[in-house]
Amino acid sequence: MTEVTTGAGGPESHAKHVVYCGVCSLPPEYCEFGGTVKKCEEWLKVQHPDMHERLYSEDVINANMSSLTIEAQKRADKDAQKKAAKAVAAEARALEIKASSKILIKRVERNKRKYVTAVQGLEAHGLDLKKVAKDFGKKFATGSSVTKLPGGGEEITVQGDLSDDIYDYLVETYEDIPEENIECIEDKKKKGGG
């Protein structure tokens, strides 16, 4: 049991404390096999400079290379390039989805002159629906909750006709969301307002 050191689990704990990469979540010694090595290295340099020095020194990299045959090295390089390209593509796709995702604010007539406002599409912009629903409730002093959509997914339902107020609030609070991605619509046959 010589290797076991007291870790983060409290003074009583015998658990070994292992650092995990803040980018790819693996122990940093394994970052080299993922598609995000560059980012992983930057993270480690800032967060754990001593470990960075150990893992990314020239000696270590050369030693790693020499333990593989030239052909295996080539294949590993090719593999790494493919993985990196995949990671870049995935990131680009995520950005694109964000940029093209519309947020719909719908005024829905419930009874005569009673309205609820349904807000859809916030999750695509990385927002936590439960939290935003709570914020709406506080900000507008009304009932606000997350409800399931019949076709899957969820929306926020706010009691009252608050389309314009919610529009303004979203634009002001979340600067990352382009204004043209937010749209107010009316759920009834009759058109107008909004």
């Binding site: 870790g7 704990s13 096999f33 590993a76």
Partner: protein
């Protein structure tokens, strides 16, 4: 075993009698964990069971995954547990070349263990290796932790398909099927 991303299913509380039974089973299967079982599953804390696809159950404490089990098979430690208690499990080592295959979810093949960079239990190895990888051969069906050449922490855990004695003799074929590796669906699982 967990090639795809997984969405966790229903979560339920484990009854205290069942929790006691699980603690017993873990110590029975991994005797070296005995001294630490109270830290891993404190008696007074509530163990949860999360259902995963393909009839896998995952035992968790808060948002920490601890052990998983396919149907009634052996309880297998999550790699986070292996990293915390590295000396408490039978272990093998793969050579550097095999790492990227293992991390991409490929079946662990015997040559990755029998090559110069690999390690299997071996009474004639140097002291350090005997200390770490043992002398006695391991039978098929044993839960083993797989470390990697040049790395400190393990990258794979699972059930041996082939005994280590046979591996040394034939030097080919699948050594372990399935298993849980770094970066797989189980590793990336978000338990909130």
């Amino acid at each position: 075993m967990f090639k795809k991303d997984i969405t966790p299913g229903a979560k339920s509380k484990v009854k205290s009698s069942a929790q006691r039974a699980i603690r017993g089973k873990i110590v029975e299967e991994y005797p070296l964990l005995g001294p630490y079982i109270d830290e891993i599953i404190p008696k007074k804390e509530q163990l949860d069971l999360v259902k995963l696809p393909d009839r896998v159950s995952l035992y968790t404490l808060g948002s920490n995954p601890l052990f998983f089990q396919h149907m009634d098979d052996a309880l297998i430690p999550h790699l986070a547990v292996v990293h915390k208690y590295p000396n408490c499990f039978p272990r093998l080592r793969i050579d550097r070349g095999a790492i990227r295959f293992v991390l991409s979810g490929a079946t662990l093949m015997a040559p990755g263990l029998t090559s110069a960079g690999g390690r299997l239990p071996n009474p004639d190895a140097d002291e350090e290796d005997v200390e770490r990888y043992g002398k006695e051969d391991l039978e098929p069906g044993t839960v083993v932790v797989v470390e990697a050449e040049g790395k400190e922490n393990a990258c794979l855990v699972g059930v041996l398909k082939m005994g280590t004695k046979e591996m040394k003799m034939v030097k080919k074929g699948a050594a372990m099927e399935g298993g849980h590796c770094l970066g797989d669906g189980l590793w990336m699982l978000n338990l909130g």
